[in-house]
């Protein structure tokens, strides 16, 4: 049993992106999703700072300090791109024009509640950015996160302990060991890595899991982990 590394988790999420989607990628692991979109799938990558149609990172000699994404990374534009101001960018988000946002998370509850913005670190200020806007208003919210905390605690929970980002918003979760749908009946496991049985996965989760009848092995190609 080998859990997926972070690039493999991003790869797995990328396989579910459909042609023509408008996708917003959160900071951290989700930005790597752009590297693994299947061949032949065309999409718009939206960034909160107003870039609609973000492309790969710019080569150093072509990097432009004004052409950046919401994470301050110097990027390129894809064909068909446009750039708007922040007000318009968030009107796109609230107005339901983003098909899916893929976000990192600390905790997800069985009703889809998301906690991903405030770990209550001592002496650090709050940072919400666009997380609440995206979580509340994108047409679908997918989460990429490790199945468990560093100390082994569950991140899939009956109810979140950390401050909420938005209520009842998460539709799908990609962890290092499973792919899970959030349904009206709670967490439904769609894929799980070989060598981890249902009882073991349940033991690593803080809320009841049901397993889809067609639950499949979670498989990803070999990819070097992200720094």
């Amino acid at each position: 049993m080998t859990p997926l590394n972070r690039r493999q988790m991003a790869w797995r999420a990328a396989q579910d992106i459909r042609d023509g989607m408008v996708v917003n990628l959160g900071m951290g692991m989700p930005v790597h999703v752009a590297d693994y979109v299947p061949d032949g799938v065309d999409l718009f990558i939206h960034s909160e700072n107003g870039v609609v149609g973000a492309g790969p990172l710019a080569a150093a000699e072509r990097a432009d300090p004004d052409l950046v994404d919401a994470s301050s990374r110097r990027i390129t534009l894809r064909p068909g791109a446009a750039i708007v101001d922040s007000s318009w960018s968030f009107a796109m988000i609230r107005g339901g024009h983003i098909d899916v946002t893929i976000l990192g998370a600390f905790e997800v509850a069985k009703n889809g509640d998301l906690a991903n913005w405030d770990m209550r670190l001592p002496n650090k200020g709050p940072l919400v950015g666009g997380a609440m806007d995206l979580a509340a208003c994108a047409r679908a919210v997918w989460v990429i996160m490790e199945h468990n905390t560093r100390s082994g605690g569950p991140r899939l929970l009956d109810a979140c302990n950390l401050p909420l980002t938005a209520v009842k918003c998460v539709r799908r979760i990609y962890t290092d060991v499973a792919v899970i749908e959030v349904t009206p009946a709670g967490f439904v496991v769609r894929e799980v890595i070989d060598g981890l049985d249902q009882a073991q996965l349940q033991k690593r989760s803080g809320a009841p899991l049901t397993f889809a009848n067609d639950c499949r092995p979670l498989i990803a190609p070999e990819l070097a982990d992200a720094e």
């Binding site: 960034s47 909160e48 700072n49 107003g50 870039v51 432009d64 300090p65 004004d66 052409l67 950046v68 994404d69 919401a70 994470s71 301050s72 110097r74 750039i83 708007v84 101001d85 922040s86 007000s87 960018s89 968030f90 009107a91 988000i93 609230r94 509640d113 670190l121 002496n123 650090k124 200020g125 709050p126 940072l127 919400v128 950015g129 666009g130 997380a131 609440m132 806007d133 509340a136 208003c137 401050p163 909420l164 980002t165 938005a166 209520v167």
Partner: protein, 225 residues
Amino acid sequence: MPIDKRVNSAAEALNDVSDGATVLISGFGGAGFPNVLIRALREHGAKDLTLVVNSATHRFSLTHELLDAGLVRKVICSAARGHQKEPTAFEKLWVAGKIELTCLPQGTMTECIRAGGAGIAAFYTPVGFGTELTKGKEVRRFGERDYVLEQAISGDLALIRADTADRYGNLTFRYAQANFGPVMATAAKLAIAEVRAVEDDPIDHKRVQLPGIYIDRILAVGDVR
């Protein structure tokens, strides 16, 4: 008299800023920070400022100079946390209880500012419902969804960065430089733009990204950032 909004120096642009002013400052993701004007505001020395800014401190912005100089009473922002382990200028003041903070979701903040410049007193948004950032705010159900009442934000001064201007105050922006600038300019009594260059001829209307009526003063600063 022909309209001409150009000024010759940052000090001239800011000469009538008062203590207690609410100052809207653009910039996000590394682009659009009016750093020449921010530094000039620190040199001007107006105190008890309220800053409305996306990040309380950002590695490409000079807002930390205003904070370090003790000129800021309150910050309204969506990001008050530094990315380094070392506390930022803001975090030091905040932990010591020496500065007020209002944290808003980024899209709510920009819509509050848009409302402030568009004659809207308040609006209902689904963003933040059920979270601690909207605790105490009025909630109303429309259809199947709960919405939170958010009030408009306006200010005394907006400092923004653009690429080019003409003497009428019309602006163009490069790439992602616009971000909060256009709405901030609409929501302040006095809006000042620092730009890379002022064009001699009026900017063609098809290229104007922010009409000059929103801009009071223009300062050409060249390529400095």
